[in-house]
């Protein structure tokens, strides 16, 4: 592989590049999933890999998620390093047992005696009217059950470095990409997802949040698409004299609590923005961590903005109503700083 200098990449290209570089480096790495071959992945996460590595290492599968995700676990136990794609995270229900009762738990149940280096790659997110079974995030659900590292990048640079870390990790890693951040030619994407990506392989460590923007007035904690919308909101707010600090958690497991706590100790106000369902998920967890660790620093009640516990509706006005927008984020911050 020729090393190229840093250039702007879309998130899908960054992910595919990380996979290609690790496939080059380690013959044990291979890719399985529906339409990952000729099609290059429905969201282009595996674009170009088939041409380069052939059908032996880039395998299209039947629509049998339980079988092929379970097979990834079995192959990993033998020393392989599978990357397996679950096309949409919304489909987890047909294969959750192999994910959470086996891939996630086997290492623990074996007393640490086996390693399962599997990357479970999956698409998430709404905003393009794909309705209730193709628009969810669900990372909160996977972060709830022990044994999976949970990665949720917001931009191409992080996406590549986190993917490299994921492939090199000896543990199961579930890697969520937001479809609306992939930079696809056929789906509007958030421009902040495209950024400078080094040509050579590099890692972004797990469990280290990124303070995307510093600010003194309020802390906004988020992930993926909502990080970018929070940054948009922060621009608007800055013009109004409100300085928001925007934290991109990047990984939910491990979770960088300290960066959140430190920020709240500085800003005294917390807004959590989540494209996942509101209740019993990520937003609650972050609020709880702050209520445990920085309660006395809070000058106003914690605020949460998330999907209001309804399935994602199809129709545009309905979907727009339930997904947090930059405007809604800005408005929540205004209310929070006024409190």
């Amino acid at each position: 592989m020729t090393m190229v200098a840093t250039r702007e990449l879309t998130m899908s290209k960054a992910i595919a590049e990380a996979i290609a570089q690790e496939m080059e480096r380690d013959p044990k790495v291979f890719v399985m999933g529906e339409d990952v071959g000729v099609y290059g992945g429905i969201f282009s996460a595996t674009g170009g890999l088939l041409d380069r590595y052939g059908e032996e290492r880039v395998m299209d599968t039947p629509i049998s998620e339980t079988a092929f995700i379970g097979a990834a676990t079995g192959a990993a136990a033998e020393g392989m390093r599978p990357i397996v794609e679950l096309m949409f995270v919304d489909f987890f229900g047909v294969c959750m047992d192999q994910i959470y009762n086996h891939l996630a738990k086997n290492t623990y149940m074996a007393g640490g005696n086996i390693r399962l280096p599997v990357v479970l790659l999956t698409g998430m997110g709404g905003g393009y009217n794909d309705a209730a079974q193709h628009s969810q995030c669900l990372y909160g659900l996977f972060a709830h059950v022990p044994g999976l590292k949970i990665v949720v990048p917001s931009n191409a640079y992080d996406a590549k470095g986190l993917m490299t870390s994921a492939i090199r990790d000896d543990n199961p890693v579930m890697y969520f990409f937001h479809k609306g951040l992939m930079g696809l030619g056929w789906m509007r994407y958030h421009p902040r997802s495209v950024n400078e990506v080094p040509g050579e392989a590099y890692t972004v460590p797990f469990g280290v949040a990124d303070v995307k923007r510093e600010g003194k007035d309020v802390t906004i904690v988020s992930l993926a698409m909502m990080v970018n919308r929070a940054l948009d909101a922060a621009d608007t707010l800055a013009a109004e004299g409100i300085e928001a600090e925007v934290i991109d958690l990047r990984t939910l497991v491990p979770l960088d609590k300290q960066t959140v706590i430190n920020s709240v100790k500085k800003t005294h106000r917390l807004l959590i923005v989540d494209e996942d369902y509101l209740s019993f998920g990520m937003s609650g967890e972050i609020a709880a961590i702050v209520a445990e660790n920085a309660l006395d620093y809070l000058d106003a009640p914690v605020r949460r903005l998330a999907v209001p516990d309804v399935p994602i509706p199809y129709s545009r006005p309905l979907e727009n109503f339930v997904l947090p927008s930059a405007d809604a984020i800005a408005q929540a911050v205004r209310e929070l700083t006024a409190a």
């Binding site: 339409d35 099609y39 039947p62 049998s64 047909v94 309705a131 079974q133 030619g185 199809y314």
Partner: protein, 328 residues
């Protein structure tokens, strides 16, 4: 099976309704998506799976059903819905995301629910099999001779739900017919790379039930084979598995670049178009005149035009309605 002229014309017309509905949607779908294609733009956003070319399996099957029978469709559901007599206006309106749609705009193209006509579908592959068993179970419990049909693609026949549902239906002797529409593709994956048997109907052996494959994209052939299965189910003799060969004219979804597809596949397939085939048969057998066929087609075209117009004119739901209907 003897078919009256009326039935034949009804089939012909319904196939046209489906074809024209899909073509109208294909056009509407592109509105707002040029010059730059964005899946989320235009009057019909989101994924769009069209069934042009696959009319026979839907029409040939549903012609045997009454409004008491249940149909569960797939992610590619319009042909099933139309054949099951789901009102075209509410169907179109749902696909346009309107208040007047089947689900008030909440469901969208992959999630169509019409309890009055006992039609539903799902965007999850293989998800049709279990609820169809449940409908059949309910019919049995209520002492009715109603049947349920689960449609599924050839790709779906490799989901675990297929196996579980067929075994359950067999062991409980449920009045359900499993109909696999084999269009030889699951997105970009050809059937030969995903399915270990050449003929899914052979899988019936694994459940001790009848299995038949209809090897041509022909509505009359489907009608005949399904007729036996439905009669069997109504007589209380249990489930059947049927696979029907059919042809996907469009991409997997609209916007699919189809780089995986052999160049002339679709044009070759279109050479054996099933609507023309039925029309030609009716003409050659003297069952109908060209004028009658044209009238059927025109009626279908009018229905489709009306439905699309209705959908366009209908209002969007109010944003806050998003919060309603999680529970009844």
């Amino acid at each position: 099976m003897e078919l009256s002229k009326e039935k034949l014309l009804e089939m012909y017309r319904e196939m046209w309704t489906i074809r024209l509905f899909e073509e109208a949607l294909a056009a509407a779908y592109m509105e707002g998506k040029t010059p730059a294609f964005d899946i989320g733009s235009g009057p019909v956003p989101g994924e769009m799976h069209l069934a042009a070319g696959q009319e026979p399996v839907a029409v040939g099957t549903c012609m045997h059903l009454t409004e008491n029978d249940t149909v569960v469709g797939t992610h590619r559901p319009h042909h099933f819905a139309i054949a099951k007599k789901v009102p075209l206006n509410a169907l179109a309106a749902e696909i346009f995301g309107k208040e007047t749609g089947l689900g008030k705009g909440k469901g969208g193209h992959m999630h169509l629910f019409d309890p009055a006509h006992k039609f539903s579908c799902s965007g999850i592959i293989g998800a049709s099999f279990p609820p169809a068993c449940g409908a059949a179970l309910a019919a049995k419990k209520m002492g009715k001779d109603w049947v349920a049909v689960a449609f599924a693609g050839d790709g779906a026949a490799n989901q675990g739900s297929f196996h579980e549902a067929l075994n359950l239906a067999a062991i409980w002797n449920l009045p359900v017919i499993f109909v696999i529409e084999d269009n030889s593709w699951a997105i970009s994956v050809p059937r030969s790379k995903s399915t270990a048997v050449a003929d899914n109907s052979q899988r019936a052996i694994a459940y001790g039930i009848p299995g038949v494959r209809v090897n041509e994209n022909d509505v009359l052939a489907v009608y005949e084979v399904v007729g036996e299965a439905v009669a069997r189910a109504r007589r209380g003799e249990g489930p059947s598995l049927i696979e029907v060969k059919t042809d996907r004219y469009f991409g997997h979804f609209q916007g699919d670049p189809e780089l995986y597809r052999p160049e002339n596949e679709v044009s070759t397939l279109k050479g054996g178009d099933p609507i023309k085939r039925l029309g030609d048969q009716m003409l050659s057998q003297g069952v109908a005149t060209q004028v009658e066929l044209d009238a059927a087609r025109d009626a279908a075209a009018k229905d489709v035009d009306d439905a699309i117009a209705y959908a366009r004119q209908s209002p969007y739901p109010a944003p806050e309605e998003a919060l309603e209907h999680v529970f009844v």
